[in-house]
């Protein structure tokens, strides 16, 4: 059971998909119940993982390893460490909520909708647990398809354009990624003779690959990941996709899909090509782009007239923080980057859910159509305010923790990074508060809003766990850091050997080794 827990986790939604596909399409409510049932089941089956996951173990856990295509050395090779673990938790929760939140808003093609969603869920979970680069690519590509359909079928007016744009951007990126991972692959064969896509084998190549080659290979990966993140010049698909996708789609997109870029960086791109990642050009360029993204995204969202577009651009800004943290290449930066990814997942999902609430009522996303909602929807106002401040980095809520840790990592490398990034904090408050003022405050300007119903129980319940998460991370982030510490330390040691000893720090990994041995002794 528990040694196959990972397979179970990602197969559950897949099975759910097939079940849903077998249901009669007329019986919508049945489909809804079944789909949501599987979504909840997906959360339940992760419980053994949560119980069994040991933060004191630095290397991969729950490893499953079966030969898949021996000829090319591809394996069915799963396993999680801190990075994957935290992402998987995020995925099951947000996946479940986003499936739930389509309950009323999705009325036509219900069956297909849920089928695609469960499919997407399976794909994303797969990405976060594979340790075989080939399999990773497979999962990575799989998710594009359901996402294409979700945007394209249930999206807004310009959905066709948004869908294909999303697909082509990401596909272009990922084929380049394919090329560079193939290069590593055969370099490995040249070096060691045996064909293998297993992550640790691939990582051994770095020792033999010339720095400049590593540089290019890293960028091969990086462009694919940067498109997914999305990083500044590659971000233009995001606003369209976000805006046109249905609420649940946006939630999944912001909550999880964007995290794959970050995850891919820390799990694959950086460890595979340490010299490529720590190359001066790479670091400065990426940092520059991140900072530009931070300020740029904020300024653009300041000017948006479309509520969802605003949130979408704010994602660009937030993820600029994340990439900045990652490229700082030190524990705080990396842990902060991932944590901020999680935070962004929570708070931006909240914001999108909030948009969805009023969108379901009024079917417009134009900020100008609202105003004075606080008069009619006090509960909604409160929840939205909390989400807003979480996203704006109010201390005591999650956003602050992430940004602060990232800034610490950035400052360690270069003061100016931190200074410029700090501008993002100011602007972040600016566009959100302005949005809040325009939408919530003032008298009701638009008669159509007079009889807006406040949030119903389902909507509140959907947002509740996320808000709880925001507070939890904001008030007691220690567990997250504990989860992230070991893999981060591993990564840093790989990127910058001797980092800890050089700074007179004891390498946490040793600590873990000791604790592990101690644990063994106890038993």
């Amino acid at each position: 059971m528990s040694e196959h827990i990972l397979s179970i986790i990602w197969l559950t939604p897949l099975i759910g998909m097939f079940v849903v596909m077998c249901l009669p399409k007329e019986n919508k409510s049945l489909i809804r119940y079944v789909a949501n049932g599987f979504a909840i089941l997906g959360v339940i089956v992760t419980l053994p993982l949560i119980r069994g996951f040991d933060t004191a173990v630095a290397d991969f856990q729950f490893v499953e390893r079966i030969d898949w295509i021996p000829t090319i050395g591809a394996q069915y090779y799963l396993g999680v460490d801190g990075f994957g673990y935290i992402m998987i938790l995020l995925t099951v929760i947000i996946g479940w909520l986003s499936i739930w939140c389509g309950w009323e808003s999705i009325q036509e093609k219900v069956k297909e909708y849920y089928a695609f969603f469960l499919f997407l869920q399976a794909g994303m979970l797969g990405v976060f647990m594979v340790l075989d680069v080939f399999l990773f690519y497979v999962f990575w590509e799989i998710m594009l398809v359901p996402m294409y359909f979700i945007i394209g079928i249930w999206g807004g007016p310009r959905r066709l354009y948004a869908a294909i744009k999303f697909f082509l951007y990401t596909l272009t990126g990922s084929v380049l990624m394919l090329l560079s991972l193939l290069t590593v692959y055969f370099k490995h064969i040249e070096q060691f003779g045996n064909a293998s896509f297993a992550l640790e084998d691939m990582m051994r190549v770095a020792a033999y690959a010339a720095p400049d080659l590593q540089f290019w290979l890293f960028w091969g990966f990086f462009i694919a990941l940067a498109v997914k993140v999305p990083m500044f010049p590659f971000h233009t698909w995001l606003p369209d996709a976000h805006t046109e996708a249905p609420t649940a789609g946006s939630v999944i997109l912001a909550g999880i899909l964007l995290k794959m870029g970050l995850y891919g960086l820390v799990r694959f791109a950086m460890p595979l090509f340490p010299q490529g990642a720590s190359d001066g050009v790479t670091v400065n360029l990426v940092a520059f782009l991140s900072i530009v993204g931070i300020i740029y995204g904020a300024l653009v969202s300041l000017m948006q007239k479309d509520w969802k577009k605003l949130v979408a651009y704010s994602s660009v800004s937030h993820l600029g923080f994340c990439t900045l943290g990652l490229i700082a290449l030190n524990p705080n930066g990396i842990a902060g980057g991932i944590l901020q990814g999680v935070n962004h997942g929570l708070s931006t999902s909240l914001l999108f859910l909030a948009v969805g609430v009023v969108y379901d009522r009024r079917h417009t996303r134009a900020i100008a159509d609202y105003g004075g909602l606080a008069n009619r929807m006090p509960v909604y106002t409160v929840l939205f305010a909390i989400s807003m401040f979480a996203s704006a980095g109010m201390p005591g809520l999650n956003g602050f923790i992430g940004e602060f840790t990232i800034l610490r990592g950035a400052l360690e490398v270069n003061t100016w990074w931190a200074v410029f990034a700090a501008l993002g904090i100011i602007l972040g408050a600016a566009y959100l508060l302005w949005l809040f003022q325009r939408v919530m405050l003032g008298p009701i300007t638009n008669p159509k809003n007079e009889d807006m119903k406040d949030m119903n129980l389902r909507e509140i319940l959907i947002m509740a766990p996320l808000i709880a998460g925001c507070f939890w991370i904001g008030l007691y982030p220690k567990p997250c850091f504990e989860i992230l510490e070991a893999p981060t330390a591993k990564l840093v040691e790989r990127l910058d050997p001797g980092y800890f000893s050089r700074n007179g720090l004891e390498n946490p990994l040793d600590k873990y080794e000791q604790s592990k041995t101690a644990a063994l002794v106890r038993e």
Binding site: P70, I142, L144, V145, I153, A163, L176, Y185
Partner: protein, 492 residues
Amino acid sequence: MDAILFSAADFHVLKPAILLCLFGCGILITDAFLIRNRAERWKNAIPALAAQVAVAASLVQHLGDVRSGGAFSGLNGSMQVDGFAVFFNWIFVIAASLAIVISARYMDAEGEHRGEFYGLILFAQAGMSVMASGYDLVVLFIGLETMALSFYVMVGFLRDTRRSNEAALKYLILGAFSSGLLVYGFSILYGISGSTNLSEIAKATAARPESDLALFLALITCSVGLLFKISAAPFHMWAPDVYEGAPTPVTAYVSVASKAASFALMLRIFLTAFESSAEAWTPLLGAIAIVTMTIGNFAAVTQTNMKRMLAYSSVAHAGYILLGLVAGNETGLRGVAVYILAYVFMNYGAFTLVAALRREGEAAEDIDDFNGLYHRAPGYTILLAIFMLSLAGIPPLAGFYGKYFIFLAILREGYYVVAILAAIYVAVSAFYYFRVIRACWLLKEGEQPAHLDMNFGTRAALATCAFLTLLIGIYPQPFIDFAGEAVLPALR
């Protein structure tokens, strides 16, 4: 040379071809005498399929022998049965049976349902099987011509449709011209080596000095002829017109089988006769492959006719496969085999659905005719989506592995620029494949929506294609092995 008559061994070697010819003639006779009226015409498919079964059986024997005792040849070495031949024969069997299965309904709808059609399918296959296993210029030439002629006729089989005639005529003129050049090259090869046997020729050419003009002359004319057959740019011009004009099952058959056979021929000749001058033709073929991919992909983007779009896309695929030969290493050749194998199923699947749209009195071949197809036939639309994604090379579907090996091969040879170009073109191709998916799923249906007309055969064909596309995608191991063991020892 005492064996005037066939020996038993020769029969064994020839068994597929012989079977096909026999069944072909048989069909002609039964059609003439037993089949009474149009309604019974589909019965012709039965012996045709029986032929496939028989051939398959003999191929199993061949494979067994090859595995046990290695390659063996017959008829004074003019035929050679090795993994290579067996593999491609399998491809032909699959292609032919699928063609037979989907033809019945289609030709009925066209009102041109005749027994000769099945005969021609078999004869073409006979020619192709000879091409795959032939080891002698004359044999190869005759095989090639048998195939080509049968295709000319099949393409023009709808005598009362001008498109069909036109396609046939164009195909014939260009084909004849190209085979003229090809055989001119053969004659030069003969002149160089004094023999028509490939192994002899290989010896002779290997003995030639560097950059020997005579050899180049042969190389030029042969490669041009062969490139025409695989529809590589700039010799691809026939493909779109023929694909569009031909009856859809034939289009599928041509696009898969004749392409596969031509590749078999090309590999045979280039890796035996011209192996010595590999460094001379590698860059050229590389350039041609790039041009082919470029033209194929870009031209396909703006097509409105489904068959024509697929035609251009098949041109692009030819470019990818060619890259495998360019790389020349074992990964590349394996890639060629895997690519062709995957290509059979996904391409057939797509064409089958196009064929299913053809109903008596209405020809629905435009991409617009697929608009909103999802509402009318969700299941089949899902299949179509699978085929399109596979053609676009999205993992884990069959199409991906072909590209995988090709990319790997060219990266190995260090052709990074080519690799990046090829990769970018994958994205471009995704665009036009997704136009179809978009039409099916995302667009509203038009005024008089086209309907799918299925019969048992079509369904069976679709099921097979979809199943194998998925199977190869999810568990490619056995297929990769098969392709590998088939192609590699035979060629190196």
